[in-house]
Structure formats: C-alpha cells, structure tokens
C-alpha cells in the first residue's frame, strides 16, 4: 500500500527543491518490515525518464498494523538535466512554442519487500528509452501531474512560482494563468533592425497577436496576426451507434478536434435525445421510452469560418432489452496470449464462466467479496512469462512465472473499487 503524502506546487522551478513524499509499505510482511528500497520513477511529458532509489527514510510510521516508511524524493536534479535553454533564431518571425523550457511531470512510487532474504521488487519496472527503442512505462502508484520550468528562485522570492511570476506582469492586461518569463517589467529600447523574443508562460492556446504601433506623426495603428486555422476532426463516430435501451439513460460522446468555435447546424436527431456541448465534447443524451430501429442521427459541424465541415451521419436503434447488470459485481477480463488459462481467484467467488477462464472471457464476481489479498492461479503457463493485473489499463501488479505449468501469485486487491476495470493478462514481455 502506497499513499502519496505531498507533491510539489502545480508550477515548480527546476533549481529549487521539488519534493514528492509518500508513505510506503513493504510488499511482503508489511506488519514486520518496512520496504528495503523505494523507487520514484520520474516521467517527463508522459515518458519514463529515470528512477530515484531511496533507502534512507525521513521517518517510519509504526502506529498501524502495517509498518510504513515515509520517503521523500527530490526531483530537482533530474529536471535540471532534462530541461534546456534555447536561443531563438535571429529575427524569427513566428510564434514558437519552447518545449525544452517546461515539462509536465509525474512520479510512480514503487515499493519492495524481502522474500527469503532477497529483495523482491514491485513491478513491472520501467525501461528507459534508447536511440532505437522507446521508453516502456512501469507500474507503481502515480502522483498527480505538475509542471516544472527551467528556473531558479532566489531566497527572497515567493517560493510559490506562480505567485512569484504574478508580481512581474508589466500591466493588468494579463490572463490569470499567463506570466512573463522575465523579471523586467519596464519598457525597452530597441533599434530598427534588432531581434528579440518576449517569453511567456501560459495555460492558454495562443491564437492571435495584435501589434499596436505609433508612427512619427503620433498616430496609433494596429496590425493583426493569427495562427493558421487547424482542420476539423470528429472522434467517436460509429455506424451504427451503440444501441440504446428503453427507460435507460443513454449517452454518446463525440470529441471535436480543431479551432473553436464549432458551428453546429442541420441537427437531425430523435426527439428523446438532447445535444450537450461541454469543452470540446458534443454529447447526445436522453432516455428513450419506446422501441425504434435505425433512427437517423445527422449533425453538421464546421469551424474556421466554414473552411472545414464534417457531418456526423449515422443511425441509432432503441431496444426493449434490459442491459447487463454490473452494479455490485466486479468484472475481470482474462487476456492471456500464450495459451495459458486462469485457474482461480481465491477467495473471490466467480459467478461465470466456470473456471478455468480462457482468453477474452469476462469473470464476473461478487464485488463485496474483495478484501485483502487475492490469489490468482494459472495453468499451462510458460516460465518467464508475466502474470499481470491491470487496473484501468495501467499495470497494477506483475509477477514473473518461475516454472512451466501451473502456479499462483498473491495480489493485493485492497484499493480496487466498483468503477475499476480489471484485466488479468499473461504476457511474454
């Protein structure tokens, strides 16, 4: 069991401490031992970068049934390695995004335990990228994301970087989450052929610039520049749409990609459906009351003053069937790709299918039966292959099969709930 105790501010500077603190139990006999090692796997922009290992803990919590190591990691050095300062080309004439000066960061904390005197590592372990291969994500408990910029705050500065930068906005016409990356608020002198780029940090998508200039006669003029308009793409269209059921609330979500605003026209949908527009999502919502077949769904969407136009053109049927009842049960899908089969989930009571379960089968179990450890068995396994439990598409725990044939592994299932989607997989890598 790993609990994230604290993470850095949403915006941090690379040359000041960036601390992640967690409470970590051993993966074996936590009532007796604290973990011999705890890892913090650092991910920059969603890609694994490097791991920090810690054996010296800031504290040990012996107050509960399980002993917990309180561990703290400083990500500052890794951020300094990763972030770069880049000089813009002389006279550059377009707005450029500097992806080397900022990174989005999160950590995954992994524990360990002693098994027969040997350190057993919580897996799977992440793998660094090489020149020829991409990085491979590992397991562990993930922190929330935060941003790091290539900056150094001084002793006198407000340690909250966002608050610090707010004091250097040169005037009041700045967005709440837009900041200058310079400490000079003052006006500047510039020659007629000089180069300069003004650096800003923002959570907005910059789309247009307005140049206000005064000529030698003292008259002000304006000139505008806007980013070229992006195309339009609609994600989520299927033909037909997933069926609706009588008296059951129906929701279908479409994601729109491209420049806002999106103009919605020629809407042809059943009366029981309503359009919901949130962010860049167009949702169809409603509760049908009568059966129907292949009802027309047609919506025309355009952006960039009509430059791009796409149409959702599909059908939807309403069935008089009761959808599968999943409330109160946990569904675990078995995905084994080496011919092996899952033989048991002790102490879970499996309703269906009768075990062993094979590739692609859903095992439906009483959700309330989950508490503590669950032993997952397998048969026809291959030595070296991995038995893995995925929670919501992320590896939750992994185990390397030590022998060919049948075996089992204890997985901790304390932190699963009814909304989690659990996959049991046996994989070669």
């Amino acid at each position: 069991m790993i609990t994230i105790l604290s993470i850095p501010n949403r915006l941090s500077s690379a040359y000041n401490p960036i601390l992640v603190k967690a409470s970590v139990e051993s993966i074996h006999n936590p009532e007796l031992h604290i973990p011999p090692v705890v890892w913090c796997d650092i991910y920059f922009n969603g890609v694994y970068y490097k791991s920090l290992a810690e054996r010296n803990y800031v504290d040990v919590d012996n107050s509960g049934d399980e002993r917990k190591a309180i561990v703290e990691f400083n990500l500052s050095n890794a951020a300094q390695e990763f972030l770069k300062t880049k000089l813009c080309d002389f006279g550059i004439s377009e707005v450029t995004e500097d992806k080397t000066a900022i990174t989005e960061c999160f950590c995954k904390i992994r524990s360990s335990g002693l098994e027969d005197g040997i350190i057993d590592v919580e897996g799977p372990e992440p793998i660094q990228a090489t020149k020829n291969t991409p990085a491979v994500e590992g397991g562990g408990t993930q922190t929330n994301s935060f941003f790091i910029i290539n900056a150094a705050l001084q002793l006198e500065d407000n340690p909250n970087l966002a608050n610090h930068l707010s004091y250097f906005k040169p005037n009041e016409n700045w967005g709440e989450n837009t900041f200058p990356l310079t400490h000079r608020r003052e006006d500047r002198i510039i020659g007629t052929n000089d180069t300069y780029t003004y650096p800003i940090l923002t959570d907005s998508e910059l789309t247009c610039l307005k140049l206000n200039y005064k000529d030698r006669n003292g008259i002000w003029h304006q000139a505008n520049w806007c980013k070229p308009c992006q195309g339009l793409e609609i994600i989520g269209i299927t033909e037909p749409l997933e069926n609706a059921y009588i008296d059951v609330e129906y929701t279908k979500e479409f994601t729109l990609i491209g420049n806002k605003p999106f103009v919605i026209e020629n809407v042809d949908i059943p009366e029981w459906l309503e359009l919901e527009l949130i962010g860049n999502k167009l949702n169809l919502k409603g509760t049908p009351t009568e059966e129907s077949e292949d009802e027309t769904i047609s919506i025309t969407i355009s952006n960039c003053d009509g430059q791009n136009e796409e149409t959702i053109n599909t059908t939807l049927s309403v069935l008089n069937l009761i959808p599968p009842e999943i409330e109160g049960t946990l569904i675990m899908q078995v995905l084994t790709d080496d011919g092996s089969e899952i033989s048991g989930f002790t102490p879970l009571r499996i309703f269906e299918p009768s075990l062993p379960a094979i590739y692609g089968q859903d095992c439906v179990s009483d959700h309330n039966g989950i508490s503590g450890d669950v032993t997952i068995g397998y048969i026809n396994g291959t030595s070296g292959n991995k038995l893995r439990v995925y929670k919501n598409d992320s590896v939750y725990q992994s185990y390397t099969m030590l022998g060919t044939g049948s075996g089992s592994k204890v997985f901790n299932m304390n932190s699963w709930d009814i909304n989690d989607i659990i996959h049991i997989k046996i994989e070669a890598e």
Partner: protein, 213 residues
C-alpha cells in the same frame, strides 16, 4: 502549460508584418489572445466551454481572451549600440541594450629564443620569436540604469550563457556571437547620488581570432 517565444524585436516584426516600415515607427507594444471563449455556435448563439450562453461584445475580439500585453518598445533610430542576450533566472533569454561602448583588441602570446649557430651573420634570423598568439575582442559597455533595476541586473552579471547581436557583413545574415561575461561587482545601492547609476559590463567575444603560426 506552455512556454511561447513571442516575436517582439523590430527585425522579427518586420518579417511578420512585411508592410510595416520600422523607420517610421516611434513605439509599439503587443497584445496576445488565447482561444475563443466561444466554444460552440448553435443558431447564431454562442456557448462557452461549460455549455453556457456567452454574450460577445465588440471589444472582446470575437470571444477571444486577452492573455498578455507586453511593455512598450521605444524604437531608437540610428542606434549602433551593443545588445547583450543572456539567460535570465527564469530560463529564458533576456536582452539589454548598451549605448556606451569601448572595444579593445587584446593579445596574449609566448616567446622563444631562436638558436643561431656561431658564425651565422644573417641579419634576418636569430633573436626572439613569438608563438601561441591569442587575439581576443574585449568590450566594456555601460548604460545608465535606475536603482530599481538592481535586482534583475544581477541576472546579467551571473548569467552563464550570453551572446551579442551581430549584424551580418560581407553578404552574411545577421546572427549572434557568443560572449564570456567577466566576473565583476555592481553597486546597486549607493549612499549618495542615488538618482545616478551606471551599469558597466565587461565581456570577451567567446571565439578568439584565428592567428597564423
């Protein structure tokens, strides 16, 4: 969050707005706008990202939110100053313009004594020779500043990486030249004449002259 470099120099904006003649401009500033607050338009009615109706007035740039407004840039015509670009404490390049400039060529070298055989009376040979000649360009530039500038002037003095602008010659495009800022101290508060501060920066061009052996 994102970091943007906004073209703000006259050379940058001349290329971005080709119809502008900077020789006729006295001052300018830049405003930046984010994405339209209007996420959807249905039946000519605008809705924001939360699906709530949005009223757009004439000053809101079609629903776009103003996200920044730079300080004013005053155009100095006929300037032959030196512009130093340096990494600031926020990891980006800042620039300072100096109008008072002293430039020296400095050389360093070693010497050796040539062997001359007894009885050799060639007047051209013999005596001391010079080798390992290193010739560098050294600048001492200065600019009047205010006492309140003292804090950020620390950033230029302690910057590990800096360049000066170099106007292209012999048909080459303009570029930057790397410089090494000399260690120095700057008194940013005086006990008298606190209205009058002069910031002096000494630096050497990072690449020495190519000399012959």
């Amino acid at each position: 969050m994102k970091v943007y470099n906004i073209p703000a120099g006259s050379a940058n904006l001349s290329a971005m707005f080709p119809n502008l003649d900077f020789s006729n401009i006295k001052e300018y500033n830049l405003e930046g706008y984010g994405e339209s607050q209007c996420g959807f338009i249905v039946n000519d009615e605008c809705f924001n990202a939360n699906g709530e109706p949005l009223i757009i007035n004439d000053e809101s740039e079609g629903g776009s939110e103003q996200i920044f407004h730079t300080p004013t840039f005053f155009v100095k015509h006929c300037s032959d100053g030196v512009r130093v670009h340096f990494i600031n404490f926020l990891g980006k390049f800042d620039v300072m313009q100096f109008e008072t400039i002293n430039r020296d060529i400095a050389t360093e070298s070693d010497s050796y004594i040539k062997y001359q055989s007894p009885g050799d009376y060639d007047k051209r040979s013999g005596g001391a020779g010079r080798l390992n000649v290193i010739a560098t360009t050294v600048y001492e530039v200065s600019e009047p500043v205010d006492e309140k500038d003292g804090n950020w002037l620390t950033e230029i003095l302690s910057s590990p990486l800096a360049y000066i602008e170099w106007k292209g010659v012999q048909g080459q495009p303009s570029s930057y030249l790397p410089i090494i800022i000399n260690d120095a101290s700057y008194r940013n508060r005086k006990s008298s004449e606190r209205f009058n501060y002069e910031f002096v920066l000494k630096f050497t061009i990072g690449k020495s002259k190519n000399t012959l052996r």
